[in-house]
Symmetry: C2
Subunit: 271 residues, 2 copies
C-alpha cells in the first residue's frame, strides 16, 4: 500500500492533482479552476497537493511524514511544471524537494521527508484528545446558502459545525479557534496527500478576529498516520498575532480518533 493514489477514477482531488512525467525528474500538471480561495487564486493547500503528488512519484518510500512548503506567488488555473530532486534516500527516511512553476516563475517550493509507516516502531504516548464534536449528522453545513462561486474550494470540501456562529454570521467572536468536521465533498476518503491539502482548506481562525483573510507564507504539515475512511475531526487555532504575522495550528483526527495530521503555518493578515 502506498500513499499515492493513482486509480481512484473520477474523484475531483485525484483528477485535479494528476501529474505527468516530463523527463529529468520534472512533471507537468494543470492547476484546475475549482479549488479557489477568495479572490480567485488557487487554494494553497491544493497547490501543495499537486506538488506532493509529484513528490510521491520521486520518493523511494511511500508515506509523506513531514512537508514544509513556502508560498512564493499566487497560483492560477492553467498549466504548471513541477521540478523535483531526490535529496537523500536512506533506509528509513527519504527527503525530496519540489518546485511548482507557472509561466516560468516559481509559485511554491516544498521539501518533504518520507517514511514507511508500516515499518514504524516505537512507543505511543498521547497528551491530547480529538475534538469533542457532536456526530456530523446532527451538525450543520456552514457554507450552505452562502452562494459561493462554483470554483470555490468550499464546493470541493465539505464542513460540518455544531452551530453556525461567529464570523459565519458576520459577527466575529474575538476567539480565533474552532472545531469542526471536514471531508472531500465528492466522497473521496482522505489519504496522506489529501491531508496536505485539507490542512489549508478551512476558513482561517483569524476570521474570528475580523480579518478579511490570511496569506500563507510557510506551511509545515506533520503526517502522523494513514487516515481511516470517513469524516475528519479538525481543530484550528491562532494564539499569537504580532504586527499582522500569525501562526495557525491545525489538527486532523480521523474517524477512529487517531491524530493523522498536525500542521502549522506562518501567515500574514490580509486586507
Amino acid at each position: 500500500m502506498t500513499s499515492e493514489t493513482t486509480a481512484r477514477g473520477g474523484f475531483e482531488f485525484d483528477t485535479d492533482t494528476g501529474v505527468r512525467p516530463a523527463g529529468g525528474g520534472g512533471f507537468t500538471a494543470t492547476v484546475a479552476d475549482r479549488w479557489q480561495a477568495i479572490g480567485g487564486t488557487a487554494n494553497g493547500g491544493y497547490l501543495l497537493g499537486v506538488t506532493v503528488r509529484a513528490l510521491c512519484r520521486v520518493s523511494p518510500l511511500p508515506d509523506p511524514l513531514v512537508v514544509s512548503a513556502f508560498f512564493l506567488r499566487a497560483g492560477v488555473a492553467g498549466p504548471a511544471r513541477i521540478g523535483t530532486e531526490l535529496v537523500r534516500a536512506g533506509r528509513r527516511l527519504a527527503t525530496v524537494q519540489g518546485g511548482l512553476r507557472q509561466d516560468g516563475r516559481e509559485v511554491l517550493r516544498a521539501v518533504a521527508t518520507f517514511t514507511d509507516f508500516d515499518a514504524a516502531r516505537g512507543p505511543t504516548v498521547l497528551r491530547n484528545a480529538p475534538p469533542a464534536l457532536p456526530v456530523p449528522e446532527v451538525c450543520v453545513d456552514p457554507v450552505a446558502g452562502m452562494g459561493l462561486p462554483e470554483g470555490s474550494v468550499a464546493h470541493r470540501v465539505e464542513y460540518r459545525v455544531p452551530e453556525v456562529t461567529g464570523w459565519w454570521r458576520g459577527v466575529p467572536s474575538g476567539e480565533p479557534s474552532a472545531e469542526f468536521w471536514m471531508r472531500f465533498r465528492d466522497g473521496r476518503d482522505a489519504d496522506l496527500p489529501g491531508l496536505t491539502m485539507l490542512v489549508d482548506a478551512a476558513a482561517p481562525a483569524v476570521m474570528e478576529l475580523g480579518a478579511a483573510g490570511s496569506l500563507t507564507v510557510e506551511l509545515t504539515v506533520h503526517l502522523r498516520a494513514r487516515p481511516a475512511p470517513g469524516w475528519l475531526a479538525c481543530r484550528v487555532s491562532t494564539r499569537h498575532v504580532i504586527d499582522g504575522y500569525h501562526e495557525e495550528d491545525f489538527e486532523v483526527w480521523d474517524s477512529t480518533g487517531i491524530l493523522v495530521a498536525q500542521a502549522r503555518q506562518l501567515a500574514l493578515l490580509a486586507g
Copy 2:
C-alpha cells in the same frame, strides 16, 4: 540594524558560526567541536545557526521570519560548505535556500523567508502568556555538577530551572513538558540567528518519558520579534508520540515578555 551579527568580537556563537564567501553564492565554514549533542555529533540547532548566518548574507531583507530545516545526516567538527540560492526577492518578503555539506554530502537543507520587522504593520492579538517562572537569580542550573564533556552544547548555553526534578534526577516525570530560562553562557545576547540555534539547544521534552534522546527530522522556527537583551523564558512540550515519531513545540519569550520565537520539530525517539 540587521539580524546578522558580524562585529561581536569573541563571543562563541559568532566565532563558531562565521561563514566566508567562496564564490557562486557558496560559503565555507568550520563546524566547531564545542556545540555537541550527546554522542559527539554537532547539535542540530548549531548547524542551523551556521546555515542561517550564510542565508543572512544572501537575503536582501534583514530578518529571518520563518526557517524550515531538514536534518539529513549527522554533522561533525570540521570543514563545511554552504551552497545558497536566492529563491525569490519581493518587496516585503524574500525567500532563500541553503544546504550545508561536509565531505561532499548534504547534512542539512534549510529554506527561509526573510522580512524587515521594522516595516511590519498590522494588529497584535495574543492568546498566550510567557512562562510564570521565578526570576533566574533564585533558580538553579540543572547541568551544574553533571560532569558533561567540555564540548557539550550545555557549556555554551546556560539554563535555569525552578528546581531540579524529573529526569534531571534520574526519575522521568511522565509529563513531557518543561519551563525554564536560557541564554548563551558567555553573555552574548540572543538575536534572530541565535534563536534559530537556541530552540534546539535544550533537553528534549521526551526525556521526561524515559527516552534516551530524540533525533530531529525537521525543524520549523517562526521568528516573531527581535529579542531584547537578557534571559529568555522558554516552554517546551510534546503532546503526541506515535510509534516513536513525535512533535516538539518550543516557545521563547524575551526578558520584556514578548514572544520572540515559536518552533516545532518532528523527531524520532532514539535508543
